[in-house]
């Protein structure tokens, strides 16, 4: 051993130290019936006493057939207790064997330290003695990872899959070892931290987020009560081969290399807040197992299955799929079904190189007086040069590149250059807020970050990994110039099913989820947009809405970026819009609803000439939130020649349907928001809700049937990034995407959205969707706003209407002295009128001065907060404290606007 030996073995004390088998006192979550002591020879042939948790005997007694075995290997300094939930939730037919490694847990203490190679041999000998037959999936944590993989490599014929949680198989010599472990290995400290004190044993379970219950932490520490019982804990740390000449180095390198040859299904579950096994090790494993499914739990730490017990269900779900997929007649891989459909390659269209591709008005590029212009030919040359420049800086095909550049010519150039290289664009919406934006980017693990200075500072702050490439000031031009000089070859044949982009959704709750598009999916999306809205030669557009603006060059459509802060839609003025229309003689305008609202508000400032210009465009496209028909009518009073369209879709699938709310359409019996017919090439199915509000597995299209909206098309996301469970939940049936919206199709095939699935009330009379009820109530005069929330337990929820009467609106109410958000019962006559029109039984009608809106969408009612408030009012959290509680909680600025 390279490290100094400090442990003194005293055989005389062995029996006292070496209690094998589970103690009698109960440990939380652990069924003693799983526990057994097994005798098996170790690597040297000496018989050892092992303690294992094994449901095999129970299965045998029940005469159950074993379809598969999970071999679970803990790390240091835990024991098989780590896998208690795996045993507890084991589905029929699965045997789970969770071992206590020799010297660890309740297994025998050995006279001398075990090396990695010995431990692999020990384990192999044990499984032979246990009579493990049939398919085996290994499951491991921490330093159990290399041991389990070592076993896997020696049992390839039996191996059906590998599951790894926060572990590593490779410790590059050139890389610094994890600081915590380096510290613990310092010769002076090792004995103290690991052996003579319980610091390491206790510290491991203290890392958990949220903290583990005391009894669970005690259970983890139970086998390691004395220094002698902790010997192997110190030995284990010493056996980590940091040094090139370490005795276990060769064994680890062999396992690391072997892992890359494993072609069985693999699942990696990761808690990224691990001070030892940081995401660097996840990256390393993914390089070796590129086909692995990944479930990453943002915020979770080292003991990922303790921090996220739901991960146990995820593992079992994955294992069940494994057996199903192995069965004959398994469904084909979803991407195979998506190969069809028109595609527009994601590269600059150079069929008319002399034409202007992008005109940038305003501060970011040029000025209104001297706007920046770039032709398709120039853009293509620039993209090509930048791609070479990026390649020279180490950007490789398949690398993830976070792009933090404001919309405009530069962003367009960078994105097309990344695509030109075959690399993957990672884009997160600034609207996520800085914290969530940083977390999103860090979670995507980009290899490179391209950004302006401000963005790179944010990336540093939020610990986004990856090499930095500055494009602020002249830096981009220098990169382009470098690229133009170098003769770096660019890849020619880029596989269509390779990843093309990772986009971050605007999930209102929880951490943002990365949505992965393949290059094929992106190309299909461009084609769908073209075909849906009739983008043809001779069209030109104003891009005040970033997502679509990016596709102009691929479609060969000239575009103008107006003088505005594109990340803040409400900064678009009518005059700026007119100037942008004039700059390219635009036929179309893409703008977010907030931008259009400001255009309407500033229309009085237009000059007659600008008014004339605005009569030109034929189409106004607005997306991002439901757009009220009144707003679009007001827009059409300014853009007098334009039709209006509001596409419906989400980050995972856009567009799904499109609709012109200003055209009079037949109303529907059920109500909700009409989003139009599905666009050609996109299928919509409804997963009908049952009485408990749960959507069915199978899809239907029966008119009027209410359920989750499920879509399929060539442009649907490939997957959620490193969120295997979310992906599995959303892609049902295979190839479809569950949107999380509920609604119905009418008898003309139009789709109506009735709210979010998460906001469906489950009442005793069945599910109630919010939008239709709100729409009916809004018809009453004198209301500024209305929202439906549920109170009470699921299945017996009561419908509560929260109203903002016009006379209670914001300022007026405060002048009169009402506390912001103070609530009270609606007057009996108003409550009566609401009940008369609501169409469902209404338990209570409450009034407020404003409705809370969620952080992400300044336009969507925060129904969770509102339901919480109503619950406090109606369930008597109460009486004496109602007023104080409400005012104490509602510090957020009053804002009124719904959905």
């Amino acid at each position: 051993m390279a490290a100094p030996r400090q442990r003194i073995h005293d055989p005389a004390r062995r029996s006292a130290v070496d209690a094998v088998g589970l103690p009698r006192r109960p440990l939380p979550g652990l069924d003693p019936a799983w526990s057994r002591v097994v005798l098996a020879p170790d690597a040297e042939g000496l018989t050892r006493r092992w303690h294992v948790l094994d449901n095999g005997p129970l299965l045998a007694r029940a005469e159950g057939e074993v379809q598969g075995t999970v071999l679970a290997v803990h790390g240091n300094p835990t024991w098989s207790y780590l896998w208690r939930r795996i045993l507890d939730q084991a589905p029929t037919g699965w045997r789970v064997i969770a071992v206590d490694q020799l010297g660890m847990g309740w297994s025998e203490r050995t006279e001398s330290p075990r090396t990695l190679a010995q431990r692999v041999a020990d384990l192999s000998s044990l499984t032979e003695r246990l009579g493990v037959s049939g398919p085996v999936v290994t499951l491991a944590h921490d330093w159990g990872g290399p041991i389990s993989l070592g076993w896997a490599l020696r049992h390839r014929d039996q191996l059906a899959g590998v599951v790894l949680t926060n572990t590593a198989v490779h410790q590059p010599v050139e890389h610094a070892a994890p600081a915590v472990i380096r510290l613990a290995r310092a010769p002076m400290l090792l004995a103290r931290v690991c052996r003579s004190t319980p610091a390491f044993v206790r510290g491991t379970t203290a890392l958990s987020v949220p903290p583990l219950p005391r009894e669970v932490r005690d259970a983890f520490a139970a086998p390691y009560t004395t220094a002698d019982r902790r010997s192997a804990v110190a030995d284990f740390v010493r056996d980590i081969p940091f040094e090139p000449d370490h005795p276990s180095r060769a064994a680890l390198d062999e396992i690391a290399a072997g892992t890359a040859t494993l072609d069985v299904p693999a699942l990696l579950l990761w808690g990224p807040r691990d001070p030892v096994f940081s995401e660097r090790y996840l990256e390393d494993l993914l390089r070796r197992l590129p086909h692995a499914d990944v479930q990453r739990y943002p915020g979770a730490s080292h003991l990922v299955l303790e921090d996220r017990p739901e991960g146990v269900g995820v593992i079992w779900g994955w294992l069940e799929d494994l057996l199903d997929d192995a069965a004959p007649g398994a469904p084909e891989h979803p991407s195979a079904a998506r190969a069809s459909g028109a595609r527009v390659p994601i590269r600059v269209d150079t069929s008319r190189p002399e034409d202007v591709a992008v005109v940038e008005l305003g501060s970011s590029g040029g000025t209104a007086a001297a706007p920046r212009r770039v032709t398709f030919g120039e853009l293509d040359t620039r993209v090509d040069a930048l791609a070479r420049g990026l390649a020279a800086r180490g950007v490789r095909p398949g690398d993830r590149v976070a792009v933090l550049v404001p919309p405009g010519v530069d962003l367009t150039t960078v994105v097309y250059a990344v695509w030109r290289l075959g690399a993957v664009v990672v884009i997160a919406d600034a609207g996520l807020g800085l914290g969530r934006l940083g977390a999103a980017l860090a979670g995507a693990r980009p290899a490179h970050v391209i950004g302006i200075d401000r963005a790179l500072a944010l990336a540093a702050l939020t610990r986004v990994p990856g090499a930095r490439l500055r494009v602020g000031g002249d830096a981009l031009d220098e990169l382009v110039a470098d690229g133009a000089r170098t003769g770096t070859a660019l890849p020619t044949d880029l596989p269509e099913d390779a990843d093309g982009a990772v986009l971050f959704t605007s999930g209102a709750t929880g951490p943002p989820k990365g949505v992965v598009y393949t290059r094929r999916g992106l190309a299909a999306q461009v084609a769908l947009l073209r075909d849906t809205f009739g983008f043809g030669p001779g069209e030109r557009f104003v891009a005040a809405f970033a997502p679509f603006a990016l596709y102009g060059p691929a479609l060969g459509l000239p575009s103008a970026v107006p003088d505005m802060d594109v990340t803040a839609p409400h900064t678009l003025t009518a005059a700026a819009l007119a100037d942008a229309v004039a700059a390219v003689d635009a036929t179309m305008v893409f703008a977010a609803p907030a931008a259009l609202r400001n255009v309407v508000a500033t229309a009085d400032d237009l000059t007659p000439a600008q008014r004339q210009v605005l009569a030109g465009p034929r189409l106004v496209l607005s997306a991002g939130a439901p757009v009220p028909a009144e707003l679009l009518r007001a827009v059409r009073a300014i853009l007098t020649g334009a039709q209006t369209q509001t596409p419906y879709g989400m980050t995972e699938a856009l567009p799904v349907a499109t609709h012109d709310p200003t055209t009079p359409g037949r109303d529907d019996d059920r109500g909700g928001v009409c989003v139009g017919r599905p666009v050609p090439g996109v299928e919509v199915g409804i997963a009908v809700l049952d009485d408990a509000g749960v959507p069915a597995e199978e899809l239907g299209t029966a008119p009027g049937a209410v359920g989750e909206i499920v879509v399929r098309g060539p442009h649907v996301k490939d997957r959620y990034d490193r969120q295997w469970a979310a992906q599995r939940g959303s892609a049902r049936p295979a190839g479809w995407h569950r949107t999380g919206d509920v609604g119905h199709l009418d008898d003309e095939g139009r789709l109506w959205v009735e709210g979010r699935l998460a906001h469906v009330l489950t009442t005793a009379d069945g599910p109630v969707t919010p939008y239709p009820v709100e729409d009916r109530v809004r018809e009453l005069p004198g209301l500024a706003d209305a929202a439906v929330v549920g109170v009470g337990p699921g299945g017996a929820e009561l419908v509560v209407l929260v109203l903002v009467p016009e006379e209670r609106g914001g300022l007026l109410a405060r002048v009169r002295g009402a506390a912001p958000g103070s609530g009270a019962l609606a007057p009996p006559d108003l409550a009566g009128r609401v009940r008369a029109v609501a169409g469902v039984p209404v338990a209570a009608v409450l009034v407020r001065d404003w409705l809370p809106v969620d952080v992400r969408h300044a336009s969507k009612v925060d129904r969770a907060a509102l339901a919480d408030w109503a619950d406090g009012i109606l369930h008597g959290r109460g009486g004496r404290t109602v007023t104080g509680w409400v005012t104490g909680r509602s510090r957020r600025a009053p804002r009124t606007r719904s959905r």
């Binding site: 337990p793 009561l798 019962l825 009996p828 009940r835 109606l874 369930h875 008597g876 109460g878 109602v882």
Partner: protein, 332 residues
């Protein structure tokens, strides 16, 4: 499984709910006998007697296929001994009488208060009756009575407990009567902000649920089932609706609930003291008791799905229609 109507005894038929149950069962073809202390001269065969009189109970039960047992002491004040004699022993006398004649069916009409420990009940089921933890003499003795009734369920005797919550309707002297009277005296206080959700039961719905329990005893036996309209409303709205229906002024004063609770406790103390003094007339209606304060300041509403499924019953008269009927009966 419903069964052919037979002979049924309804106790406590002089009350609003008992009367409604007797009428409804007769309408459904049951041969109804009522037991009460003084003759009411109604349409049903009468056995005069007191539930505290074992012999009278035996006489009334004899020959009956079923008993709907509603007789109870429901006052908010009174001696513990009286409550036990009427509510607990009364139920046991009925059970013994049924046993003596070989069994039959028993619908024990109980109250959600037997399982209510004073906390808010939000979408609750029928918790177990608890004589130890229920609040007040009425609820405690009804809890014990319910336990005896459910325990009696066996091969020969089929029993169930139906717990209607806050029954009201035309002719109601309890909830409606008190609210109306106090509102007219200007003494009606709405506790807290009056926003807590409270379930109530319109009398016809409660009667139908009791009849359904009798007829579907095979499904309901051995269980306690809470019965309500399934339309929880904010208490303030409900009280205002009742006042409006009976032509009384709407309540104005809002007492914060801890204050109301203290007042209730004080009043109970005064009443108890007054009753202890010989020579003074008994006070039966104090303005506010702790029990009532709790009832009016904490949410209590129930998940009715199990009840409706078990009884194959759903309320037919909604609260708004009930208020209209109340107004019609009051001639307002």
């Amino acid at each position: 499984m419903t069964t052919r109507p037979g002979r049924v005894l309804v106790t406590g038929a002089s009350g609003m709910l008992g009367g409604a149950v007797a009428d409804l069962l007769a309408d459904r073809g049951w041969d109804v006998t009522v037991m009460q202390r003084r003759t009411a001269g109604g349409r049903h065969r009468e056995v005069l007697g007191d539930i505290r009189d074992g012999e009278a109970v035996s006489r009334a039960v004899s020959g009956q296929d079923a008993v709907a047992h509603l007789a109870a002491k429901v006052d908010v004040v009174g001696s513990w001994r009286d409550f036990v004699d009427v509510n607990v022993r009364g139920t046991r006398r009925v059970i013994e009488a049924l046993r003596a004649q070989g069994g039959g069916r028993l619908v024990q009409v109980s109250s959600p208060s037997v399982a209510h420990t004073g906390r808010s009940l939000v979408g609750a089921g029928a918790g177990p009756a608890s004589p130890m933890r229920a609040r007040g003499h009425y609820a405690r003795t009804k809890a014990a009575a319910e336990l005896f009734a459910l325990e009696a369920d066996d091969g020969a005797l089929a029993s169930t407990a139906i717990r209607p919550h806050l029954v009201w309707g035309p002719g109601d002297t309890q909830l409606v009567g008190r609210i109306a009277e106090r509102a007219r005296q200007g003494r009606l206080a709405l506790v807290g902000a009056g926003t807590v959700l409270v379930d109530t039961t319109y009398v016809d719905n409660a009667a139908e649920a009791i009849a359904a329990a009798l007829e579907r005893i095979e499904h309901a036996r051995g269980q306690a089932l809470v019965v309500t309209n399934g339309e929880p409303r904010p208490i303030g709205e409900l009280v205002a609706g009742i006042c409006h229906a009976v032509g009384a002024p709407a309540p104005r004063l809002h007492l914060p609930s801890p204050l109301a609770w203290t007042l209730g406790a004080a009043v109970e103390g005064v009443v108890a003291a007054a009753q202890a003094l010989p020579g003074l007339p008994p006070i039966t209606q104090p303005p506010m008791t702790r029990f009532l304060a709790e009832q009016l300041s904490s949410a209590h509403w129930f998940d009715q799905r199990h009840t409706r499924e078990t009884l194959d019953w759903a309320p037919r008269v909604g609260i708004d229609e009930g208020l209209e009927r109340l107004a019609a009966a009051a001639g307002t």
